[in-house]
């Protein structure tokens, strides 16, 4: 999902700094973006560590210039019943998304304030932030925090000229998504979605880049739903409730 965002920014002409937990993955992504002909830089960074974030911003700005747009994508997710969720699992998922989004955004905002220039931030949230996500409570909490902090960050940073928005993304199959990218895994999911298909990652990238572009000057504090209607299905037409504990073999199970 982050790569899709980065490619869309590059298609719009932006120089792109890729920050990833693993430098190998970051460089792999950077080489795909460089193929589009824009300046690219890759650096490793654990977004839970403010010192690493400062260093990563320093390295990126030294290589490709001041960062004026920020896309927060770092996240982890795996299905698990809350009763089987260790505090380590809870902390890993919530802190990468919640603390990571906050710490990177705050570093960005302080730099923009110092430079006397505005900017824009886009956060990668999810379509299940209003409904809960039984069987995935850590991600349910983390993704909602990203959306609700989006609104407050937008308010706090409006005087700095920084816009902050989020995309509540539905299911966009990609290499590392939990249900995989195979046709067998995707077809039952397509049947659940009013639009009749899962999303294409480039659609997510395009919306994310658009929200950061000058075309959307004036738009801030918003969470835009992009899920093919998945979260708006009529509950009266849903099948019987299956308790999360009894669906470990399902498409979002943990077996």
């Amino acid at each position: 999902m982050g790569l899709a965002m980065a490619i869309a920014f590059a298609q719009g002409g932006a120089a792109v700094g890729v920050m990833g937990r693993s430098i190998e993955r970051a460089e792999e992504g950077a080489s795909k973006i460089a193929a589009l002909g824009v300046p690219v830089h890759a650096t490793s960074c654990d977004v839970r560590d403010p010192d690493q974030i400062t260093q990563a911003f320093n390295a990126t700005e030294a290589a490709i210039g001041p960062v004026s747009l920020l896309a927060n994508n770092a996240g982890a997710n795996f299905p698990v019943l809350t009763e089987n969720m260790s505090m380590n699992a809870w902390n890993a998922v919530t802190r990468i998304a919640i603390d990571g989004t906050f710490l990177c955004s705050a570093e960005f905002a302080r730099r923009r304030e110092k430079a006397g220039r505005g900017g824009a931030i886009i956060n990668n949230s999810a379509q299940y932030i209003w409904t809960g996500f039984p069987g995935d409570a850590h991600s349910a909490a983390a993704k909602t925090a990203q959306a609700t902090m989006t609104r407050k960050l937008a308010e706090d940073w409006a005087p700095l000229g920084i816009r902050v928005n989020a995309v509540a993304a539905g299911f966009f199959p990609h290499e590392s998504s939990t249900s995989g990218n195979g046709a067998e895994a995707i077809s039952p999911l397509q049947n659940m979605i009013p639009a009749g298909r899962t999303g294409q990652t480039y659609e997510f990238g395009w919306l994310s880049a658009l929200l950061c572009s000058p075309l959307m000057e004036g738009l801030t504090g918003q969470v835009i739903l992009q899920d093919g209607g998945e979260s708006l299905r009529r509950s009266l037409m849903m099948p019987d409730f299956v308790p999360p504990r009894e669906r470990e073999d399902g498409p979002w199970g943990w077996k």
Partner: protein, 167 residues
């Protein structure tokens, strides 16, 4: 509401005089620790600061009190309730999402969706989970808390609500 919570034990984490008074008035026995029929976790937001002035330490403290500590308490409560094969009720109380700093916006948003997620996971165990986000601290808050813990609210789970117009 006399007798609504007769004989029920309530573990109360955090402080709110209106809630404590209303629960006792409804017949609840407040306990500090150990097994109980209900869990109430109260944590108000810290004084708001602009987001880029919040330190990492301040952010972590707010997330711990407003989210992580509540998750752990709910998980422990549910484990005890399940192993004893009895139901129970969990209530989280805090500050409205957009009425303090970015730390509270994140913690309260996360808490609301956590409430909805675990309410569904534990619904058929008879464990209910609800959240009140409000700046009010009067009798209406206490009475709503007492109602949500009582068996009159047996069909209320996964609800995230306020008390007054400003919530």
């Amino acid at each position: 509401m006399t007798g609504w919570l007769d004989g029920k034990t309530v573990q109360l984490i955090g402080e709110d005089p209106a809630i404590a008074a209303a629960l006792e008035e409804a017949g609840a026995i407040l306990v500090q620790e150990g097994e109980s029929d209900c869990l109430v976790h109260i944590a108000r937001a810290p004084a708001p600061k602009l987001a880029h002035h919040i330190t990492h330490g301040e952010w972590r403290a707010a997330m711990h009190a407003g989210l992580d500590d509540r998750f752990e308490a709910a998980k422990l409560f549910n484990e005890a309730a399940r192993s004893a094969q009895r139901g129970g009720a969990i209530l989280f109380v805090g500050t409205p999402e957009q009425q303090a700093g970015a730390d509270q916006a994140a913690a309260a948003g996360a808490l609301g969706n956590l409430t909805k997620s675990i309410a569904v996971e534990w619904a058929r165990d008879g464990v209910r989970v609800n959240t009140i986000l409000t700046n009010e601290n009067g009798p209406a808050l206490g009475r709503m808390a007492a109602y949500l813990l009582s068996d009159y609210a047996a069909y209320v789970t996964g609800a995230v609500m306020g008390i007054g117009l400003n919530d």
